[in-house]
Every structure is written in structure tokens, then in C-alpha cells.
């Protein structure tokens, strides 16, 4: 329990030590850490610097009192310990298996971190004269070349900041292309199994969403799709491999049908890891696709970001690529087109500056390290590992669909029927087994969905341990060991958290007790 800072009043905690409570409230390596606002000092700074001293200021009478800033500080050792202790309450891919479906939690090579910190590449300002940043522009050019070659697409916009931002970029290009022909059209078709960002993006582009049902094989229902296709449809947003972990077999036929009515085909590239080096989206009839550099190309997820979501475009949309756009000059130097000129087809600018350069560096380092041979092996090992898990669990869990999967395998909660255990409980019990749970309750088309993505960077030994744990949990659920699931997790830094209370009465920042009341 927390004994420092704002007190809490926990009930007695069951533990393995026969009920022994420590005097500190800590339990060995599990050390509680108050907020900086509770044990920091309002008179301290952990940074030594030159003192400005007295001088005539020019702040226009808008000076701010120090106390108005209202921030405590730590010395350097306190800062080190505070954040180190916090870090130890996190699960991470560096610590163990993280089979979070659709998120591609693969190993993050540290060479990439080192390359992103080369001073000549990191200590560079986005508005320096272009003659002084030729190295950075070459990084962008090389990354573009890799992405275009791997996808078989002729154009790329690097600047989108993440997957959802890339989606926005792609659908904006689609809308701009339709507007150039005089009619923006009304609808974007989105399969029911899509990521939530897809319909949210379509709405931001002024489109209405029509949901396309899945067939009983977990794929887009081609007939239902064709029935919706007419000249009010601007395009389709399809994830491939899809969110059920399956390759859309009819994808070429879908593309042809979409093109036949003058619409465009957006592909959500979140699952590119399954096919990189083996299948080029350009060969499937796709018009634009974002690539999550933080998934397939291993830039670290960082607890929720930053990401990077470059978008590749077909010839049909290449004119609409937003600024900034790389330009090769006659003398072989590189330049950036930073503004939309009169008469340009492109639809504008997604963000200030040039996008996530730090992520470009990491992704390029990853691509060069793997090469064309390594990337193909990445896809194959990712698909092999997912199929191995599927084959090793299908007799005790319920597979959602038949046939080989791609880089992730999907189970429904049918095997938990009548056990009293739900997908959420099963996931929390996995925490006690030492794993990060799989993605749960997504995609929506499968009841109680459990989406498991192992990636290519797990050893067979790790996969086998995971299989044993999952088989054990499935047996325990069927054997009626409800406590194991309903109370889980028991061994995490905290027990199950009350998310309902958090939403009912949102407390979103720390305030001194008297101010909070």
C-alpha cells in the first residue's frame, strides 16, 4: 500500500508470505512510488545552469511568478530513482512475450536507437537551409526508395505522424482526386472488422461510412460488397491481411470492382509484417496504403508513440501526394517542395515540418540490417509462428476461422462457454503467467475475440512455453477454477483496476488535498 503521499486504505492483501505486512508497504522489488507532486520540492532544481542575474527584461509586463508555475522538482538522483521505479511497473517486449494482435510487438534492435542519435542526423533543425541538410534529405530519399520498392507503388508521402494520420492522408488524397473530377461522392465502404480509426478517418473527410459484413470465412463478403458499389462510393478501406489475421483471397477482384466504378482502394497496412518481401500491395490493385513504421519496421512503441505512418500511392493517386515532397534537382542535390502552388493537385500539408525523422532513421537502419532477404524471412517466420501457435492451441481453444492464418491467429470465446470465465478474465490470468495478454474483444466480428500475434522475433522455446501456459489456462477454465481467473491478476504490481469509477468521476491531474476537495 502507498504510505507516502496521498494515503490509500487498502484491504488486507493476500500474499505468499503468510499474511506478513511490511512496515514500508513495499514488497521486495515491488516498491511503491509516490507522484513527484507528493515528494518533490518546490524549491529544488536538478539542473545546474548559468544564472541570468539582473538585467532589463522585455517581457511587456507579462512576467510570470515562479510559484504560479506550480511545479516541484527533483535532484538528479531522485529523478533517476523515481523513473526507474516507475519503469519496473511496466511490461515490455524487452522483458517477455507480448502477443498483442494487430500491434506487431517485435524486438526493437538497439542499433536503430544508436543511428537515430548520430549527432549529425539528430541535431539538425527542420528549417535549416536545404543546402545544410542534404544528409537528412538523402535519408528520406532512401527510405522512400525502400518503401516504394517493397510495396511496388510509385509514390510516397512520408510526413504522416502515425497510422491513423496516414489513413487520413490517404483518404484525403482519394477525396481530392474525386473533387478534381467534379464529384467528391458520398460513401466510404469499411468492413465490419476494421480498426476504429478507419470509420473515424472517413468521417473526418466528410464521408459517410457503409459497413460491409464479413462472410463465414472471416473475409469481406464479396457479393455484399458488390451490391453496395455504385457511383456514390468514393472508395473502400480494407485491411489486408485483415484483422482476423487472414489474407483477403478476393482482393484483386475487389480492386477491379472498386476501380470499375471509378472509386479508389485504400489499404490499411497495419499488418504488412505478414507479407513484406513476399507480396507487393501494388500488385493487388491497391491505390494507397499507410505503413506503420512502428509495427513492421520496428520503431519502438514507446508506451503509445511516437509512431510514423508513411503512405504509398499508385499512379492513379500519385499527383495528390501532400507537401512536403522530395525533389531531385538537376545537380543531383535534393530539395523539398514545401508549398502548394496554384494549379497543383495535391491537397495540402499534414503537419508542420517533414514528419517523424527520428522514426525514418530507425526504420531505415532496420531495413538495411535485414535487407531484402531478411525482410522476406521476417514475414515468413511471423506467419510460421502464428500458424504454429494456432495448430498447437486449436484443440483446446476455439479457432474463429479455418485455414492457414497470416501473422496472427484469432480465437473466439466459445471454448469458455458455461465456464463463467470471460475473455477479459482469461487475459488477466495470462498476466499472472508472465505474459502480456493478446488483443481482446477485437475484431468485433468474433465473439469474445482473442487475437494473438507472436511476430518473428520469438524463439521456439518461448513459443512452446506460451503454448503450455495457454493450454493450462484453458484446462483450468474448463475445470472450473474460477478464482484463478476472476481475481486475476494476483502477481502484477496492482490488482484489477476500477475503470468504471475512473470514467464516472474523472480525476485527470494531481491537486493538493485541500484544492482537490
Amino acid at each position: 500500500m502507498l504510505r507516502e503521499g496521498r494515503p490509500t486504505t487498502p484491504e488486507a492483501i493476500a500474499n505468499d508470505a503468510g499474511g506478513i505486512e511490511t512496515f514500508s508497504g513495499n514488497r521486495g522489488l515491488r516498491i511503491h512510488e509516490p507522484l513527484i507532486f507528493e515528494n518533490g520540492s518546490y524549491n529544488r532544481t536538478g539542473v545546474d545552469m548559468e544564472d541570468a542575474g539582473a538585467f532589463e527584461t522585455s517581457l511587456g509586463g507579462m512576467d510570470r511568478e515562479e510559484s504560479d508555475i506550480n511545479l516541484p522538482g527533483y535532484s538528479e538522483p531522485e529523478t533517476m530513482r523515481h523513473f526507474t521505479r516507475l519503469s519496473r511497473k511496466n511490461y515490455a517486449i524487452d522483458m517477455g512475450f507480448y502477443p498483442l494482435g494487430s500491434c506487431t510487438m517485435k524486438h526493437n534492435p538497439r542499433l536503430n536507437e544508436k543511428m537515430a542519435r548520430v549527432p549529425g542526423l539528430s541535431d539538425v533543425h527542420p528549417l535549416q537551409p536545404l543546402s545544410t541538410v542534404q544528409g537528412s534529405l538523402k535519408v528520406m530519399d532512401e527510405l522512400s526508395h525502400w518503401l516504394k520498392t517493397l510495396t511496388g507503388m510509385p509514390a510516397v508521402a512520408l510526413s504522416p505522424k502515425a497510422g491513423a494520420h496516414g489513413e487520413l492522408c490517404g483518404v484525403m488524397a482519394i477525396r481530392a482526386a474525386h473533387e478534381a473530377k467534379g464529384d467528391p461522392r458520398k460513401y466510404i465502404l469499411v468492413p465490419e472488422s476494421a480498426h476504429g480509426t478507419n470509420p473515424a478517418t472517413a468521417a473526418l473527410c466528410g464521408y459517410k461510412v457503409k459497413a460491409i459484413p464479413a462472410n463465414d470465412e472471416g473475409r469481406v463478403d464479396l457479393e455484399a460488397l458488390k451490391a453496395e458499389l455504385d457511383e456514390t462510393v468514393a472508395g473502400i478501406m480494407l485491411t489486408n491481411p485483415n484483422t482476423c489475421g487472414l489474407f483477403e483471397r478476393d482482393i484483386i477482384e475487389i480492386a477491379e470492382a472498386v476501380h470499375a466504378i471509378g472509386a479508389y482502394f485504400y489499404c490499411d497496412g497495419a499488418n504488412f509484417n505478414a507479407i513484406v518481401g513476399r507480396v507487393r500491395p501494388g500488385d493487388l490493385g491497391i491505390d494507397c496504403m499507410h505503413i506503420n513504421l512502428h509495427k513492421t519496421f520496428s520503431t519502438p512503441h514507446g508506451g503509445g508513440g511516437p509512431g510514423s505512418g508513411p503512405v504509398v500511392f499508385s499512379d492513379r493517386l500519385a499527383d495528390y501526394v501532400p507537401v512536403p515532397d522530395l525533389v531531385m534537382l538537376d545537380d543531383n542535390s535534393l530539395s523539398l517542395k514545401e508549398h502548394v502552388e496554384d494549379g497543383d493537385a495535391n491537397f495540402g500539408r499534414m503537419t508542420a515540418f517533414h514528419g517523424q525523422m527520428g522514426m525514418y532513421l530507425r526504420a531505415l537502419s532496420y531495413m538495411m540490417s535485414h535487407g531484402s532477404d531478411g525482410l522476406r524471412q521476417v514475414a515468413e517466420d511471423a506467419v510460421l509462428s502464428a500458424n504454429y501457435l494456432q495448430a498447437s492451441l486449436e484443440d483446446v481453444m476455439t479457432r474463429a476461422f479455418d485455414g492457414p492464418c497470416m501473422h496472427e491467429c484469432l480465437f473466439s470465446d466459445k471454448f469458455l462457454k458455461d465456464t463463467g470465465v470471460e475473455t477479459l478474465d482469461f487475459a488477466k490470468a495470462m498476466i499472472d503467467e508472465g505474459y502480456h495478454p493478446m488483443t481482446m474483444y477485437f475484431p468485433l466480428v468474433v465473439h469474445g475475440a482473442m487475437l494473438i500475434e507472436p511476430t518473428e522475433t520469438e524463439s521456439k522455446h518461448e513459443l512452446d512455453n506460451f503454448i503450455n501456459s495457454m493450454r493450462g489456462l484453458a484446462s483450468a477454465a474448463k475445470a472450473g477454477e474460477l478464482d484463478r481467473f476472476k481475481g486475476a491478476p494476483y502477481y502484477a504490481p496492482l490488482r484489477r483496476l476500477d475503470e468504471t469509477a475512473a470514467a464516472r468521476n474523472p480525476v485527470l491531474k494531481w491537486q493538493a488535498a485541500e484544492a482537490a476537495e
Binding site: S58, D68, G73, V118, G196, P489
Partner: protein, 450 residues
């Protein structure tokens, strides 16, 4: 291949368990026409040493900011980041964790996000802040969309003294929505006139007024009056802060009456990185919290009654609300917000104020030196950035100085080439990193040019 643990024997055993004879059998759903047998036309794998050599070669073709007299700002600032920051953000538990969807095993991320939200709310003088957006420019667009949701009005008025690329980003983000964006002309010499023009433009259709402080040209303006006019007409005041360091020295936007504050947080804890990844700060008042974009972290308790943190109010977000979400954003700037939180924890209010005043002092010193050299500076109230009228093309001067290894600043025309009145203006930022020698070098080089 150093990253792939599976051996050929493993692969064979796994294929056998699956019941297929080769990996190709797992790709049977791919249409035949799209299956590629050979390797794509790219180099094969490379050793660490080979990759490092390549990157070092690319780096040598850049001018590193820290190696020359450097006065470039315009929305990204070079500050000294303590060594501890980069060490801590590289801890694998932070670096290689996902979005904290399983709060029992991500309290580390969630607690620092809660600390981050508190720090951002306090420095901006607002009630609440979210767990970060991509950057300041996209946050600015989100603020305009949010103002429409709150006011149910469609017209946003942007100050002409707002960063040009922020203007472009807002225009693009709202290009296909119902919003109407009115952008006033830039007014680099008379910041008060910009505020008066904004006041005059507000009508009963105005959702919000977006104003940057300090503005793109470096001017500080008290926005209290503008806030009052906005509120009298039931419009929101959105204040954009591209240099968050300024909040250590300058009255907060909240204290001036802002309804939404958008910030670029790069200056605290994050390097230049040629423009990204950066850190979008987004703060507002309690009554608008359910209209905010992005993730929010909130306090709660676990099953034993112990305090903990979770992502909350997610019914605003795309993974629940889909096409009715407040934003399509999913990924944020997690690790950049950690860098911010660590740096801010080291600074505290004492350090932030001291560092901000040091920035201001360097800029006061730069301004005096420029004026002593006969150059015309447009600013009277400013923080760490000022605008110089060179009387000739600033872009040309900047290029000539770059050839002499001096990075003098941002030509205003770089962001707004269509406005010919900006052609001769050079925007210069002086942070704590500017030495006396640097100031002397840039001033004497500029003097030689004009």
C-alpha cells in the same frame, strides 16, 4: 540474421506440427498473380558496422546545429537536454511497451502520463491536459475541430501571426469538414494590430480565434482583452504556444483567459530531430473535457483499494465511437511525453523559470547587439525570438551565411512565400545554447551583408 531466433530445424519442426510441407503452403490465400518467388530489388542484409558506416556518411552531409553559431527557431528550438533524460527514456520498460491498455502491468507508463498531464495543465494554467498529440501543428487542427463541437459554430479565425505551417495544417485538416477557416494577413511589425483585427473579425458564427503567443515573429501580446471579446461573443480562444519554454517566464495562457491551449512541447526534453518526432500539448477547461481529442489518463483504485491509473473517458475515442469519435487519433507521442516529464521533473518551477530567464537574457543581448550594429529589430516585447528587417531578401542572406557555417535564423518567406511583405524578414531565436561568441559572429556576419 541476428534478429531471427528460429533455426532451420525449428522451422522444419513447426511446419510439421502445422501439417504443411513448406512455408509457401501458408500463403495459399494470396492470389497466384501476386506471389513473388524471388527477392525484391533491394540490397541484402547488412552488419551493424556496415549500417553505421552508411549513416555516418549521411551525417557528414549535414551541418550539425550544435557545431555552428545557431539561431534557428520558428517552432522548433535547440535547448540543452540533461543526459539523464535520454538514459531514462531508453529503458526498455518504457521504450518497448505498448499503449497501456492493460493497466495492471503498465502503471509505469500510466503514472508518468498522469504526472505529464498535471505538469502541462499547471504550466499552461488550465484545468486539464491530455496525454499528448502528435505535435503542435496537428494539435492546432484538433483544437479547431473541438471548438466546433463545443460551440456548434463553424468559422475559425486564425491570426496571420500564427506559424505558417500551422495555418497550412489546419487548412488541410479541415479541408473536407464543415469548418470554414478565415486567416488574417500577417502583421509582423504591429502585433497589437493583429489582435485588434482578430477582435473585429469575430461574429456570431465564430467558433474560435486561434492566436500564437509568443507569435511567429517573436512578439509577446497580452491576450486578456481578446479573451474577453471572444467570450462576450461565445467563441473560444485557442492559444498556441510553439515555444513551451516561454511558460517559465511569461504569464500563462490560462491566466489570460484561454479556453484551449495547444503547445509544441519539443523544447522540454526533446531534441531537434529535423522536425520530428515532437510532442503535442493540449489543455483545456474541465467543462470541455468530454470534447477533448486524444488519450486521457485518470486516477482510480484497484480491487484492493490501492491507488492506480488507467486510460479513461475512452468513449470519446475511435476504437469505441468509430465514426462518431472526437478524433481519429490513436497513437500519441508517449516517449516524447516521458522525455518532457523527466526534464520537467529535473527543472521544477525553480529551474524552468531560471532557464526561461536565461533564454530571454540571451535574446535581449542579441537584440542589443543587432541594434548596435545598425540592424532593425521589430520587437519590443518578446521572449527568445525576434524578427529583423534586413532590407533585402532574408532567404538570400541566410543562404550566404550558411555557406560560412552560420545558421542565422528562419527567413519568414520560407513559411509564407506568397506574402511579399515578409521577404526581408529574418526570424532569429537565441536559447541558452547561444554563447557570446555565437552572438558576436552572427551579428557581425549580418552586418556585413546589409
Amino acid at each position: 540474421m541476428r534478429f531471427l531466433p528460429l533455426s532451420e530445424n525449428n522451422r522444419r519442426d513447426m511446419l510439421e506440427k502445422i501439417g504443411v510441407s513448406s512455408i509457401d503452403d501458408l500463403y495459399v490465400d494470396v492470389p497466384k498473380a501476386a506471389r513473388r518467388d524471388g527477392l525484391v530489388d533491394l540490397p541484402t542484409h547488412a552488419s551493424e558496422m556496415q549500417v553505421e558506416r552508411h549513416f555516418n556518411k549521411l551525417a557528414s552531409q549535414n551541418t550539425q546545429a550544435g557545431s555552428v553559431p545557431f539561431f534557428v527557431g520558428g517552432g522548433a528550438y535547440r535547448h540543452h537536454v540533461p543526459a539523464l533524460v535520454d538514459h531514462l527514456i531508453q529503458r526498455g520498460e518504457f521504450l518497448t511497451s505498448y499503449t497501456p491498455y492493460q493497466p495492471e502491468i503498465t502503471q509505469g507508463t500510466l503514472q508518468y502520463l498522469y504526472e505529464f498531464q498535471t505538469q502541462v495543465a499547471n504550466i499552461t494554467g488550465m484545468d486539464v491536459a491530455n496525454a499528448s498529440l502528435y505535435d503542435g501543428s496537428t494539435g492546432c487542427g484538433e483544437a479547431v475541430l473541438m471548438a466546433r463541437r463545443v460551440t456548434r459554430r463553424k468559422k475559425a479565425i486564425l491570426s496571420g501571426n500564427l506559424h505558417g505551417q500551422y495555418q497550412d495544417t489546419v487548412k488541410t485538416l479541415t479541408r473536407f469538414t464543415e469548418d470554414e477557416i478565415q486567416i488574417l494577413p500577417a502583421n509582423p511589425a504591429k502585433p497589437e494590430a493583429d489582435i485588434e483585427a482578430l477582435k473585429a473579425a469575430i461574429d456570431d458564427q465564430t467558433s474560435c480565434v486561434v492566436v500564437q503567443n509568443p507569435n511567429f515573429f517573436g512578439h509577446l501580446v497580452d491576450l486578456t482583452d481578446l479573451a474577453e471579446v471572444c467570450h462576450a461573443k461565445k467563441a473560444l480562444l485557442v492559444v498556441v504556444v510553439t515555444e513551451v519554454m516561454s511558460l517559465g517566464a511569461v504569464k500563462s495562457p490560462g491566466a489570460m483567459g484561454a479556453d484551449i491551449v495547444v503547445g509544441e512541447g519539443q523544447s522540454i526534453g526533446n531534441g531537434l530531430n529535423f522536425g520530428g518526432p515532437y510532442l503535442g500539448l493540449f489543455a483545456t477547461n474541465q467543462k470541455y473535457v468530454r470534447q477533448m481529442p486524444g488519450r486521457l489518463c485518470g486516477e482510480t483504485v484497484d480491487a484492493n483499494g490501492e491507488r492506480g491509473y488507467v486510460l479513461t473517458l475512452s468513449t470519446r475515442e475511435q476504437h469505441i465511437r468509430r465514426e462518431k469519435a472526437t478524433s481519429n487519433i490513436c497513437t500519441n507521442s508517449g516517449l516524447c511525453s516521458l522525455a518532457f516529464t523527466i526534464h520537467m521533473s529535473l527543472l521544477g518551477q525553480v529551474g524552468l523559470k531560471k532557464l526561461a530567464m536565461l533564454n530571454h537574457k540571451k535574446t535581449v543581448q542579441l537584440k542589443s547587439a543587432l541594434e548596435a550594429a545598425g540592424l532593425k529589430v521589430l520587437n519590443t516585447a518578446f521572449f527568445n525570438e525576434i524578427t529583423v528587417d534586413l532590407g533585402k531578401s532574408a532567404a538570400d542572406v541566410v543562404d550566404r551565411l550558411a555557406a560560412k557555417d552560420i545558421l542565422a535564423g528562419v527567413p519568414a518567406s520560407r513559411l509564407n512565400p506568397k506574402d511579399s511583405t515578409l521577404k526581408n524578414l529574418l526570424v532569429m531565436a537565441a536559447t541558452e545554447c547561444a554563447s557570446d561568441e555565437d552572438i558576436e559572429a552572427v551579428v557581425s556576419a549580418l552586418k556585413g551583408e546589409v
